[in-house]
């Protein structure tokens, strides 16, 4: 589904990604872990198409298309979804209206007819239950005055409405209490099918107690330096990142 080959990117003059290789197949959940500043969020942003980053090398194939050639909106319409680490507050735009535009633009792209008001409402009600989000929250301005937990739940709600092929969750667990974490994880687990995939970017192993990954990768200094199964996450939790850093430094020394 997603094949990242030697991806390099920088922001202004600073090299952040120094050659990422990653292959994600339908039905898989991948977790990317790593210390602060290792490039985790940059990878998420580059995949979603944020213009601040300049891709300096490598390639990304997404369902047979050159992802890096697509605009952010076309990436989304092709089935890529980024749950933001810091969802933006947009006064004056209600979540309901916004998600309706997004859903219908995607449907148009897929050659489907726009959902009518009743269909849209039905789908929305169904998905709202999934993330235990209240109607009143969705008629308010997008994320404006939402708590940290509400913002993250809103991200998962939008994800469920857009039904992506590949969802990237960028530190969705940061700033969440245990209840919110459970709700978010539960949403993800219910949306999981054999045809879609998830890339979960996180600092801590905590989220992975709820969403069990098939693969865990450690990103350090712009490269994936270690890959394994969920046991790797436990090891990291126990030992911290220092042993990885030591291994890497030894190897390059």
């Amino acid at each position: 589904m997603l094949t990242i080959n030697n991806l390099q990117a920088r922001i202004e003059e600073k090299e952040i990604l120094k050659g990422i290789n990653l292959d994600i197949k339908p039905g898989e959940i991948h977790a990317i872990m790593g210390p602060n500043g290792s490039g985790k969020s940059t990878l998420a942003s580059v995949l979603a198409g944020r213009a601040d980053y300049e891709v300096t090398g490598g390639s990304v194939q997404f369902n047979g298309k050159d992802l890096l050639e697509l605009s952010p909106e076309d990436r989304a319409k092709e089935g890529l979804f980024l749950a933001f680490q810091y969802p933006v507050e947009i006064p004056g735009v209600s979540t309901t209206n916004f998600i309706k535009s997004a859903v219908n633009e995607k449907r148009k792209y897929q050659g489907l007819e726009a959902l009518d008001a009743a269909q849209f409402l039905r789908t929305m009600k169904e998905k709202m239950k999934l993330v235990e989000i209240d109607q009143s929250l969705l008629s308010r301005s997008l994320n404006e005055g939402f708590s940290g937990g509400e913002k993250k739940r809103n991200e998962i709600f939008q994800m469920s409405m857009l039904d992506p092929k590949l969802a990237i969750l960028d530190e969705t667990d940061s700033g969440l209490d245990i209840d919110a974490l459970r709700i978010v994880a539960n949403g993800v687990n219910q949306l999981r099918t054999k045809d879609n995939a998830f890339l979960i970017v996180t600092h801590y192993q905590r989220l992975l107690d709820y969403i069990v990954p098939d693969f865990v990768h450690v990103l350090y200094n712009g490269r994936i330096v270690k890959s394994g199964t969920k046991e790797l996450a436990f090891e990291l939790e126990e030992k911290g990142y220092d042993f990885i850093k030591a291994e890497v430094n030894e190897a390059t020394a």
């Binding site: 979603a48 198409g49 944020r50 213009a51 605009s71 952010p72 909106e73 990436r75 989304a76 319409k77 980024l82 933001f84 969802p87 933006v88 947009i90 006064p91 004056g92 735009v93 916004f98 998600i99 535009s101 997004a102 633009e105 995607k106 792209y109 301005s141 939008q158 857009l162």
Partner: protein, 434 residues
């Protein structure tokens, strides 16, 4: 400026002989005009608005009579105002035969200023006519005052609520040439009365026009007044207008100014709080393209304690357009416990668009709450990316954000049909703009 004198005498000579009161008023204004002349950009209040040449050019043209058909009016009728009190001005002159009044004389009185200056309203006219002069010691206000005798007087009677808003349609017929108009309106909203006035401007023909208007409104004790000014006259239309609202005790005033096009547009809006517990709200939206220039100067003058004023102006400038905002708030020595808030926000879309904004607070009392803020910027890139990352095209995402930016002001229009109309107008403009 003798040219001007000859020119104006020519246009206004057909008018009835004004009353002594108006004659004196006109003379006083003419003297001011002769002394002050028209403001150049050296005049602090006209620093960004080069208006002198427009006036000089305007008065060189012969102002022929107009052949106005009622069809013109039906073309521009605002939605939801079919039953409204509809007043028509052509080239600055009130047209009774084209105007229709829904509210009867038990509630609403409309008559010429000339008549009002000689009947039971003479004291009111004497007291309030020209109340805006003091805030605008420039030749422009005085020039309008020099020919005020053809003006209109309106009164909403004590304790009455109008069943319908008053919609004033101003037409400038520029088919024969550069059209210069000077509407003059004096309004009394008596004690405990409730009324809404909407002004809208239209140009017929392709030559230039200049409308130099003065509207003075007194909102008396416990009265509630709403005012909406809609400007969408198109290119080649120039406007210099002053609306002053004098407020007496416990009254409320609410003004919304929407400017969508025009060549050079200057709006002065003054809220003068002359008694305690007045409340006033001023909202403005300017959505500009091409080389439009819109200059909003507002004044809130708090003379007495315990008043509240709130002000929010927003601008979106594309192409080579310019938005100007100047917001003065005076809090006089006795005006303790004043609450005055002001905010001006601008988004620049065009490479050559610009915004000039200047809050100007002069506070002489010591127990007040006043705040002001202004911003000039681009569209929020993070918000734009967020929307695009959800699959919304760049164009639609921009339109969505700009519309949301403008919505704060649009929502201030209480009349639903009119609000929806303005909303549609703005939505359409935004999709063309970007």
């Amino acid at each position: 400026m003798m040219d001007a004198k000859i020119f104006f005498n020519d246009i206004y000579k057909s008018q009835d002989q004004p009353s002594d009161l108006l004659k004196a008023f006109q003379q006083k204004n003419w003297n001011s005009f002769s002394e002050l002349d028209l403001p150049s950009v050296k005049h602090e209040e006209w620093k960004y608005t080069r208006i002198k040449n427009v006036f000089t050019e305007a008065i060189q043209y012969n102002q022929d009579k107009t052949d106005f058909s009622e069809e013109e009016l039906s073309k521009v009728k605002l939605p939801g105002t079919a039953k409204a009190n509809s007043l028509v001005f052509i080239n600055g002159f009130y047209q009774p035969h084209l105007s229709t009044l829904t509210d009867g004389t038990d509630r609403l009185i409309i008559k010429s200023l000339s008549e009002a200056s000689t009947d039971e309203d003479a004291d009111f006219v004497n007291e309030h006519l020209g109340c805006s002069n003091v805030y605008h010691p420039d030749g422009i206000n005085a020039l309008n005052g020099s020919f005020a005798a053809h003006g209109l007087f309106m009164k909403v009677k004590k304790g009455k609520e109008l069943s319908q808003p008053i919609v004033i349609y101003h037409f400038s017929d520029s088919r024969p040439g550069f059209r210069f108009s000077q509407p003059r309106i004096l309004v009394s909203i008596e004690e405990n009365a409730i009324a809404t006035i909407i002004e809208t401007y239209h140009k017929i023909g392709n030559h230039q026009s200049l409308t130099n208007e003065v509207v003075e409104i007194c909102v008396e004790k416990d009265a509630h007044f709403r005012y909406i000014k809609i400007q969408n006259e198109g290119a080649n239309s120039n406007h210099t207008g002053t609306t002053q609202i004098n407020q007496l005790g416990k009254s409320t005033a609410h003004a919304v100014t929407i400017s969508l096009s025009g060549e050079i547009v200057r709006n002065n809006l003054n809220m003068v709080m002359r008694a305690e517990f007045c409340e006033s709200h001023m909202y403005g939206l300017y959505l500009l393209a091409d080389k439009s220039q819109v200059d909003n100067h507002t004044i809130v003058d708090n003379a007495m304690p315990n008043c509240l004023s709130n002000e929010l102006y927003k601008g979106i400038m594309d192409d080579n357009s310019t938005g100007i905002f100047n917001g003065k708030i005076f809090v006089r020595k006795d005006a303790q416990k004043t609450n005055a808030y002001q905010s001006n926000k601008n988004i620049l879309l065009g490479q050559n668009s610009s915004a000039n904004t200047k809050p100007q607070l002069e506070i002489f009392a010591d127990d007040v709450k006043c705040s002001h803020g202004c911003t000039i910027g681009k569209l929020d890139e993070d918000a734009l990316f967020y929307l695009r990352a959800r699959g919304i095209s760049e164009k639609n995402a921009k339109a969505l954000l700009l519309h949301a930016f403008a919505a704060d002001i649009i929502q201030q229009i209480e009349l639903e049909d009119l609000r929806n109309y303005i909303d549609t107008l703005i939505s359409e403009r935004l999709t063309i703009t970007i």
